[in-house]
Homo-oligomer: 193 residues x 2
Amino acid sequence: MESTQLIDHFSKYIQLNTEEVELIHSLFSYKSLKKKEFLLRSGDICRTESFIISGCLRTFSIDENGFEHTLTFAIEDWWTGDLLSFFTETSTSYNIVALEDSEILQITKTDLDKLYLKVPKLERYFRQLIQNAYVAQQQRIDQNLSQTAEQRYLSFVEKYPVLLQRIPQKHIASYLGITPVFLSMLRKKLSQR
Amino acid sequence: MESTQLIDHFSKYIQLNTEEVELIHSLFSYKSLKKKEFLLRSGDICRTESFIISGCLRTFSIDENGFEHTLTFAIEDWWTGDLLSFFTETSTSYNIVALEDSEILQITKTDLDKLYLKVPKLERYFRQLIQNAYVAQQQRIDQNLSQTAEQRYLSFVEKYPVLLQRIPQKHIASYLGITPVFLSMLRKKLSQR
């Protein structure tokens, strides 16, 4: 069953009994995405939060000049979605696209609310998860304000070596807020040290 | 008692019984800060999370060239602290300073852990709180990547009119990632429209 990986993941943080495991199995639904397929498009309402079994997804916005700006990457055992759109049931500003063939498990807001009621210890899991994500984001804001592109790139390399192997350079450039050409120059310069 | 405001705040989100209210009163301690006084300095361990009763605090980092970069502002009914340092008990990269005479209620990690155990519904409150903070941060990252300084300033004006009245321009400039001179030019230009 596809949701075994999700149960294994939860079990790293909290203990689940058989009944709770069954409930989780029943509330998540499986979806596969082909590379380049969209999970969410700007203007949609984000109806599900998604746990990634395999693959890689990218969240990005498109500005008024048509340029893409990458907000997040998500791979196995991470979550993706737009929390604001999901919780407020309003249309999203973001797009989420598969960068590789991907498999995900999805839960709707109604079912997640049900899950929180039946398994309140999941509040703790999600609180800790979102806390960690908040901390990572705050470091990113700090770096955007205080560091050079080179420092930000080196920090990305150190923090996410796995992503570096799997994600096209142009998307890493867009995550760092620089052009692909500039990233290419930066990499060349660093490789010559 | 100073913690009445905190109880009132919690009560907007969750229902608390007398015993829980008493526990909260017992676990938070009151502190007052004079304007310009530091709550936290880079290199310290953030031993408490703080709920603000009155006043205004600013979180900032200092880069290797000595420039300050503002991460957050926090006023009445908001929380401040460095979550990473607080939860991992490692030294912080941030500074938190009072921009006005301020009154806060502080809780240590040990006492917050105790509080979560005794009043698990607070997990829900803090999950929702941190979710909202995460969403606001993501919007800020998106704006930093995709918008001009003018657009970011106008968005700040719209989102935080109260902060605009209370916070010196130089700190707003540092929050937006621009110089005070550039912010001043921007404001002049906008006022002439």
